[in-house]
């Protein structure tokens, strides 16, 4: 079979940095392949994706030694718009991929630029909306979509270009488990039936493990494994014949550790939380909470729950179920139209978010939006500075939290320079540093690789054991089941299930 894309990258380095981001990468991609690209944070996955999509060197300047050929044409001799309709690329920041007034216009922008006839464009838009579960969203603006819906919309906007190769660089972060699995099934179908090639960078391989035809593992800027991974228990990578493109493999043991770790959490009984003591007074009490967004009409309906001191509670549910809207009521960012929210004995409606900040630490879904300062140290210390704490104590407490979250090595870096996983940790550190009794965290590990993810959850778990209360939104039911005392399942603006210890979570959420 003829190659669709060939990459022979001897070395890739960014300007001003002698360090190679990629080296000795030798890969061939064929029509109809569904490929999973994996590896720890900072291993060069995103850089490779950008090279394969032509973004490097056609849009971003970098020193690229080697070549990337698409259908025999060297990408460096083309202009980026010439690749539209051939190679589709979706990055991890979906907001920037939607720049038109309505979703319909966003989906139509690509085909219209490629002079596709309006009737055909309309048809593609309709099919894409249906494919990604967004029918009826045509006239919505991206501001009115939830985090997961924006990601699906970004996927749909690349889909309408009908590319031969679709590169998805963490495009499924923050997409709920069911939709994640559904889209992966559809992508696999697209590969099998339509001969499309999909390259997927994703930290939740469980959803598509059985669908993937080929796995590429990267480590320290190079490909250490390229082939099919058999998931039978007896299997080890040493049984493999090696990469088809001739890349040198590292020792099988190193690679197998990498691959096995990212596949799932160790589901040992010791990680399950002990039942919590519910005889004490709740620290968070929500009664009959109702709220409606005037723009989209989305509503939270009659939400009632209690959370107790020291509890670690997960909130799960499909995109747009109202999870983020709900937690924004806990520190006064949103005000209920009906009902009351009592947090640590305070009626939230009578307090401003800054007054609540001493009681509730809040981590936003998008850590990039949270960055306000030029160094990680300043960023983390800001919450203490607003409380007029002595600079020496601020420095001490910032150091403590940076050490705890393994961020000391980047303390003086600009947050924008950090990989997304580390940036997420910085944002978490900024909300933890004040020592608030309650932590409300919105998908704190969505961009992290396995070791960082596990480490962060261990820390949150420890904090909960120390008596602080944590509410966490997650799409990873493994996390909810094995780290949290209780799980709220949300659907269409309501809490439909309140489960202890993550029991029957998959059945309850319909996943």
């Amino acid at each position: 079979m003829e190659q669709l894309l060939t990459a022979r990258i001897d070395k890739l380095s960014y300007q001003g940095s002698p360090e190679a981001v990629l080296q000795n990468v030798c890969l061939d991609f064929y029509p109809g392949e569904f490929i999973h690209l994996r590896g720890p944070n900072g291993s060069g996955k995103s850089a490779l994706c950008r090279c394969l999509a032509g973004i490097i060197p056609l849009f971003e300047s970098a020193s690229l030694e080697g070549e990337v050929l698409f259908c025999g044409r060297n990408l460096s001799g083309l202009r980026l718009p010439q690749l539209a309709g051939e190679i589709g690329f979706i990055g991890h920041d979906p907001q920037n991929q939607l720049f038109c007034a309505t979703l319909k216009e966003d989906l139509a922008f690509g085909p219209c630029s490629l002079l596709v006839e309006p009737i055909e464009v309309e048809d593609r838009v309709k099919r894409a909306l249906r494919f990604f579960g967004l029918s009826g969203y045509e006239n919505r603006t991206s501001e009115t979509l939830s985090g997961g819906e924006i990601r699906r919309a970004a996927l749909a906007s690349a889909w309408t270009l009908d590319p031969k190769l679709l590169i998805l660089d963490r495009a499924f972060d923050q997409i709920d488990a069911r939709t994640h699995r559904d889209i992966c099934c559809k992508l696999a179908h697209m590969c099998n039936e339509m001969g499309k090639t999909v390259l997927l960078v994703d930290a939740r391989p469980k959803a598509f493990a059985s669908l993937v035809q080929r796995t590429i593992v990267m480590k320290e800027g190079t490909v250490v494994y390229d082939g099919k991974i058999d998931r039978s228990p007896a299997h080890t990578l040493s049984h493999k014949t090696g990469p088809r493109s001739g890349t040198m493999l590292e020792s099988a043991s190193t690679v197998s550790l990498e691959v096995d770790q990212t596949s799932t959490y160790p589901l040992t009984a010791s990680k399950r939380r002990e039942p919590h003591d519910y005889s004490i007074d709740p620290i968070i009490s929500v009664k009959g909470l109702c709220f409606t967004y005037p723009e989209s009409g989305f509503a939270l309906k009659d939400i009632t729950f209690d959370v107790f001191r020291g509890e670690f509670v997960a909130i799960v549910g499909e995109n747009g179920a109202g999870k983020t809207t709900l937690i924004k009521h806990l520190n006064g960012l949103l005000r209920p139209s009906e009902g009351e929210v009592i947090v640590n004995g305070l009626a939230v409606k009578d307090h401003t978010p800054e007054q609540m900040s001493g009681h509730v630490g809040y981590l936003f879904q998008d850590p990039l939006g949270q960055v306000c300062f030029n160094t990680v140290r300043e960023e983390v210390g800001f919450g203490l500075k607003t409380r007029r704490i002595h600079p020496q104590e601020i420095a001490q407490r910032v150091d403590q939290i940076l050490k705890r979250l393994d961020l000391m090595d980047v303390a003086n870096e600009h947050p924008y320079r950090l990989p997304h996983g580390k940036l997420q940790r910085v944002a978490l550190a900024s909300c933890m540093v004040s020592g608030a009794e309650i932590l409300v965290v919105d998908e704190p590990t969505s961009a992290m690789d396995y070791p960082q993810n596990w480490g962060t959850l261990e820390i949150l778990s420890q904090i909960s054991s120390e008596g602080r209360t944590i509410l966490m939104i997650t799409h990873d039911q493994g996390i909810a089941s094995h780290f949290c005392h209780r799980t709220f399942v949300m659907n269409k603006g309501r809490i439909v299930t309140d489960l202890a210890g993550g029991r029957d979570l998959e059945a309850a959420s319909g996943a």
């Binding site: 718009p81 920037n96 630029s113 924008y416 909300c431």
Partner: protein, 253 residues
């Protein structure tokens, strides 16, 4: 940036051909510059208010513009009142005299400014970015550039969303943003990150535009096309009658 999202309204005026809206805008702007009386300028203001209400958009949308223009207007009235010695002396404090002619000129200047701002805002509210693109293309501007004003309009609400998120972020970390002075202080904290975010975002958006084929061809297709319907002819007739009255009045004054 709710005012820039108001174009999603479905009133008859919203649905009019953008050329009618441009005619309304240009005609009124010309009238604003040609008119010299406070009454004429007030009439234009009244017609803006009436048409805005007719398009089912609340007049509150002009409140911010009104406040800002009032701030400038007061300064203008005082400055012209003192520096333009025409007509009666209205007030005399020490050696400073406020003349009626200068005050009238100041009020006219303020009304002109307010009329122009409200007209521009009204046009933005009534015209969707897509309509604006179609209009630019119809006016013969190359398609590559015709899409840009619409995208620029779209960028403003995104910027406002960024500002909101940044302010929320700072609030959740304890920065007080309740009083005006606190908000001003907070604004200083957010200006730099907001500019950085805007630059980063504009770079990313231009990347995704190119990935979606922007600039591959000198032309592009559109989902809809501009065409004059009966309601557009009625609208054109309406604004022609309105401008005939205005012209007659200006000429007779």
């Amino acid at each position: 940036m709710k005012l820039l999202l108001a174009h999603s309204g479905d009133s008859i005026i919203h649905q009019l051909d953008p050329r009618i809206k441009v005619a309304w805008l240009i005609g009124n702007c010309t009238a604003v510059f040609v008119s010299s009386g406070i009454l004429q300028l007030s009439l234009i203001m009244a017609s803006i208010a009436v048409t805005t209400i007719a398009s089912r958009v609340s007049l509150r949308i002009f409140l911010t513009v009104f406040k800002i223009s009032l701030l400038i207007g007061v300064q203008l009235v005082l400055l012209l009142g003192v520096l333009r010695p025409e007509g009666q002396i209205l007030v005399e404090v020490a050696f400073v005299k406020l003349y009626a002619g200068g005050v009238t000129a100041g009020i006219q200047g303020w009304l002109r400014l307010l009329d122009l701002c409200c007209l521009l805002l009204q046009f933005v509210i009534w015209t969707s970015p897509e309509d604006l693109t179609l209009l630019m293309a119809k006016l013969g501007i190359p398609h590559r550039y015709a899409v840009l004003p619409g995208l620029a309009l779209r960028f403003l609400p995104i910027l406002e969303k960024d500002l909101k998120v940044t302010l929320e972020t700072l609030q959740t970390r304890g920065l007080a943003l309740t009083s005006i002075s606190q908000k001003c202080k907070g604004l200083l904290t957010v200006v730099l990150p907001l500019v950085l975010k805007a630059l980063k975002r504009s770079k990313e958006i231009s990347l995704y535009m190119e990935l979606k084929g922007y600039g591959r061809y000198s032309t592009r297709t559109f989902l809809t096309a501009l065409s004059f319907r009966r309601q557009d002819w009625v609208g054109l007739l309406g604004i022609c009658s309105y401008f005939a009255v205005i012209t007659a009045w200006v000429c007779s004054a």
